[in-house]
């Protein structure tokens, strides 16, 4: 049974809900209509140029809040809502639901190719004996072979895990901040589905994605770390 608890000290830095669909040129031509719908809350306009090698990507526009707390990103075949001040699923859903409804209705997006919900967590840590104390934060450990040390100085793991109704793409990686040398664990997971999708059932897809990602997070974090993010630690 998924735990619906909200953790006051959750290490979440961004939550993104995204849909991908067959290319719709109307989005390129009437992007201003989307902007008009969101501009009061998201007045900042940015354009992402595709990186070299990203030939599959089309130009994407971002409309963001002045403090970057939330934004929408729209391209020929993709639309996403991002929150960088996530205060619980209900609030997240309440914000994106009208925007996605507007988008799908206005640009006649009916068929979906992919629906994904991504949570990006950044967990500061301090090394112990020079290695990453993965086991303090996650129920994972580094076991390449029983005879090898079960510790790592640097970590970069990508996994694609099949689940009954979708898949989770996970990244666990060590990050380092250039100026202070501060380190953190990136725990980045994206639950997505590619089958039996349609825009009318978008919110059901979102809710299912939330259930799956919540279960995943609950399964993967260590109990001791859960205690830390659950309560109000002495500080």
């Amino acid at each position: 049974m998924p735990n619906n608890e909200i953790y006051p000290r959750a290490p979440l830095v961004e939550a993104v809900f995204e849909i991908r669909f067959p290319g719709e040129p109307a989005i390129e031509c009437r992007r201003n209509e989307l902007f008009d719908f969101v501009r009061q809350d998201m007045p900042v306009v940015r354009v992402l140029e595709p990186l070299a090698g990203d030939s599959h990507m089309f130009r994407v526009y971002q409309f963001a809040a002045a403090d970057d707390s939330q934004s929408v990103m729209a391209g020929l075949n993709v639309f996403a809502y991002s929150s960088r001040k996530y205060a619980g699923f209900e609030g997240f859903r309440a914000k994106l639901e009208p925007i996605f409804k507007f988008f799908c209705d206005r640009f006649m997006v009916k068929t979906l190719r992919r629906v994904g919900l991504r949570y990006i967590n950044v967990i500061p840590f301090a090394r112990e004996n020079g290695v990453v104390p993965l086991g303090r934060y996650l129920k994972s450990s580094v076991i390449l072979a029983p005879s090898l040390p079960q510790a790592a100085e640097v970590c970069s793991v990508g996994l694609l895990i099949p689940l009954p109704k979708g898949r989770i793409a996970t990244r666990i990686e060590t990050l380092k901040e250039a100026k202070t040398g501060g380190e953190a664990l990136l725990l980045d997971f994206d639950y997505f589905k590619t089958d039996n999708l349609n825009a009318e059932s978008l919110i059901e897809h979102l809710e299912e994605s939330h259930q799956q990602t919540k279960e995943f997070f609950e399964s993967i974090i260590a109990d001791q770390y859960r205690e830390f993010i659950r309560g109000k630690p002495l500080s």
Binding site: E18, T174, A184, S235
Partner: protein, 134 residues
């Protein structure tokens, strides 16, 4: 080695195999900032105090303890106001180790002092330490 591995270095292979479906939902940070910026924007990161070693025993706190880490000049500082433990070191690891040793010192001291042997801030700290490390 700077302590990180950039996934972009193996990205072409990953993308070729999994491109359309498995590329994750786009992040707003693609427009401004990087993952490392998340660290920088965190200000003073907070890490848990997992346990202390006291007289050869490993002791876990009864409530989670947050260690606030910061850099000031050439020194790193590890601090907790509720326990009035303020430690420092030439590296983050040294600062945290100093924190652990200082905290362990005060756990021993406050356990050895009765309520009539402390006053003011000392009384409050004694109560705090005995609650956290009974």
């Amino acid at each position: 080695m700077n302590g990180t591995i950039c996934l972009d270095e193996i990205r072409p292979w990953v993308l070729e195999k999994y491109e359309q479906t498995c590329r994750p939902a786009m992040s707003a940070r693609g427009f401004c900032g990087t993952q490392e910026d998340d660290l920088a924007q965190m200000g003073e990161p907070v890490i848990p105090l997992w346990d202390l070693e006291i007289d050869g025993r490993v002791v876990r706190p009864a409530v989670p303890i947050a260690i606030r880490l910061r850099k000031d000049g050439d020194l790193f500082f590890a601090e907790n106001d509720s326990l009035a433990v303020y430690a420092s070191g030439a590296s983050r690891e040294e600062a945290i180790e100093d924190f652990r040793q200082t905290a362990a010192f005060f756990v021993r001291e406050f356990h050895s002092l009765g309520p009539d042997q402390v006053m003011g801030r000392g009384s409050r700290l004694r109560e705090q330490f005995l609650k956290v490390f009974p």
